[in-house]
Each structure stands twice: as C-alpha cells, then as structure tokens.
Amino acid sequence: MEAIKKPIRTVWDIPRHEQFAPGHNMCQGCAAALIMRMLMKVVGKDAIVAMGTGCVEVTTTPFPYTSWRNPWLHLAFENTAAAASGIEAALKALKRKYGIYKDRYVKVVAIAGDGGTFDIGLQALSGMMERGHDVMYVVYDNEAYMNTGIQRSSATPLGAWTTTTPVGKRMRGEPHPKKDIIGIALAHRIPYIATANPAYPTDMMEKFRKAYETRGPSLVHVLSPCTPGWRIRNEHSIHVARLAVLTGMWVQLEIVNGKPRVTVKVRKRKPVKEYLRLQGRFRHLTDEEIQRIQEMVDRYVEEINRWVGEEAIGPVEA
C-alpha cells in the first residue's frame, strides 16, 4: 500500500489493508497496538521505521518474527531520533550520488515511548528537530516506562501511582505534573506538531497523514492507554482515551508553522473525576487531591483557549 494522500474524513476513508501484522504480543486492549495499526495504514510501504526500545518494540519483534511489513530498525533508548536523522541523511546521499529512490518518496518514521522521548531520547530528538531532518516522529505516550514494569517518567501525570511513585503516608503518587513536550517541540520551530488520541481515529490518522507529508521534522504526540499500567479494564482503553479529551485532561491540538488549532472542540467539559475514577492508578486520590487536579486542568484549558484565540474547550458542565 502507498501512503494515504487524500484527507481522511470518515472511517470509510481508512484502507482495509493491514500494513502492520496482528499476532504481536501487546497486552489485551493495548492502545499502542491500535495506534501502530492506524499509523502504518497511513504511511504505507515506503516508510522506514526507526523504533526506540519499549513495549511496542519488544512485543512486535520476538525473533525470528516481526509484525512489521516495512524496513524496521531496533534502536537503543537514547538514539531513536539520532538514528532516524542518520537514515534520512543516507537516503539523501543515495539519491544525490546514485539516483536511488529518485521518483519515490521514502521517508523515515521514528517511533518511541514517552520514556524514550520525554526523558532518555530528548537530546537526540532536539538535535533532529534543530537540524531540520525530514523525519516524522511519533511518541506513543502511555505515561510511564511500561515495558520494564511501570516506572514513572516525566510524562507521568500528577498523582498517578507507579512502582517508583508509590502511595503511602509520605508519597501520594507522582508529585510533578506532566512535562510539556509540545512546548519543547514548539521552541524548535518545526513545521508540524500535533497531539492525537486513538479514540478519535480519523483525527489521529489525518494528523499522521499531514505529519508524513510535511517536508522537515514533524512530531505527533499520541495518548496511549495501557491496561496493566493504568489499572484499567481491557475493554475500557478507548473509552478512557475518549474521556481524557472530554474532561480537558488531553487537548487535541494541531500546530502548523507555529499556528495552533484545536481539532476536537469540547463545548462542555466533564469533571476530571470521570476520567480518574476508571483508573486504578488514581484510586488513592482524595476529593481534595482530585480538586487540585481539576484546578490544574482548568488553568491548562484556559491557557489553551487563550493561545488558540477562541473557547475551544468549554467550562465544566454543571
């Protein structure tokens, strides 16, 4: 399958062909599996995938098997974006010197988890964005280091339990709010940045399509509910992802050449409690603690609305 060129407006615009094979070892109900499936449908056969280690990497490539139908590289934790930059530079040189892929658009797609992006791969990502490589970078954010057993990362949200942010008298889960990776990407002035969510598949795929079509660095930050790590029911992963948007915990953004837009508007927000109470990782939170998270989200929503210049995300419904 070639990369999708036409806009994806409805679910009927999604091709039937599966570029990403089933039979992988991702958990029952893992949203990352769905994200990969949809991503590969969009980018098609001419993408070279550079994959940082993490759940997706480990579960899709148990030797001698692979779920990928594309050229795919296993990379270390720190160097996903560095290796992606190198492949892109090599492709350019091959084209210039030998005319290889002259009439075919072959593009590098880098994929890594939140640990591999927000923390350990951050400097490589910064370099890739700063040098302007023609690479699409996708971070699937399950808000912790899941593959090694739920350790906190700088993407773990305030109050969440992980094995390294335990809940007791002294510690009440993660003490810090989530790092603003979109702000970091913005500071690099890259042409395309977006946040996406698997509960909104056409919106997500449309963002993948635009990121793939961008010439230069692009970043898509995707929320990826994780059934064991978030302590949610298997069938709830899409439901929880949707609630993240409906409560304003997650805002669906698209920033083209610095100009921001909210792609999924929410007229009336639900209280954050509805999102939190479905997840075992937030079970310990008291009403006061939930209130603090609500106030944090209120401020965040206000900030976004001011930035996009309209009330894209409305007030909490009474």
Partner: protein, 120 residues
C-alpha cells in the same frame, strides 16, 4: 576465489526455514519475513470471545476500526436482515488473532457483539 552462485542479500533467507541454531541466524540478526507474527495464534490469551449478531449489526465499522489486534475482518459478504435492509459488507472475527479484550463489544453502538466465556 570462486564466484558464489548463492543469491545475495536478504533473498538468501527468504525461502528458508526459521533458524534453529546460531549459525543459521541471518547476518546481523535481520528478520527477512515481513509481518510473520500473523502466523502466531493468540487464541490461548482469551477467556471471553466476541460473537457478532449479524442481524443486529448496522455495519458502522467501529469494531473493525478499534480492534487493536486486527481481529475483526471486513468481508465483501452481502447480508439482508429481517427488516429487508441489504448490506454489502459483513464483519467477522478472526479467532486466531482475537485476544478477547472486549473493546469491540464495548464500542459497538448497537450492542451487536456479545462477549461469551470460552469453555474447554
């Protein structure tokens, strides 16, 4: 030096069986069998299985869209329901790939999918 008649590059491995010993492992540990996890059944992961009621199904495609394991298959099978409405496609479950997560049943807008316990 004699010229090798063996095919070069990845082609060398394509027709071959999977390596059983270290000296059969392709150079650099490459896996020249794209998408071959498809051969690996995952049915033993399931404790419950989705069953689609073709009569109730309105062919909205949502279960197919949301399945993380590509286990809902869209087939060009015509179906006319009791109300006389004809659909061009049908949705079926590939029980080799389905892990029984229940997302399809939860997301189906008309509750056309039931999750039923697996029995031995």
């Amino acid at each position: 030096m004699t010229e090798s008649t063996e095919p070069q590059g990845v082609e060398r491995y394509l027709g071959k069986k999977y390596p059983r010993t270290w000296d059969e492992v392709p150079i650099a540990g490459i896996v020249p069998w794209p998408g071959n996890t498809e051969e690996l059944p995952k049915h033993s992961w399931r404790t419950i299985r989705p069953v689609i009621d073709q009569e109730k199904c309105i062919r909205c495609r949502m279960c197919w869209v949301y399945c993380p394991d590509s286990a809902i298959v869209e087939v060009d099978k015509e179906y006319t329901n009791k109300k006389g409405r004809t659909f061009k496609v049908s949705y079926e479950v590939n029980y080799d790939h389905c892990k029984g997560c229940g997302i399809c049943a939860f997301e189906c807008p008309v509750n056309a999918i039931q999750m039923v316990p697996e029995e031995r």
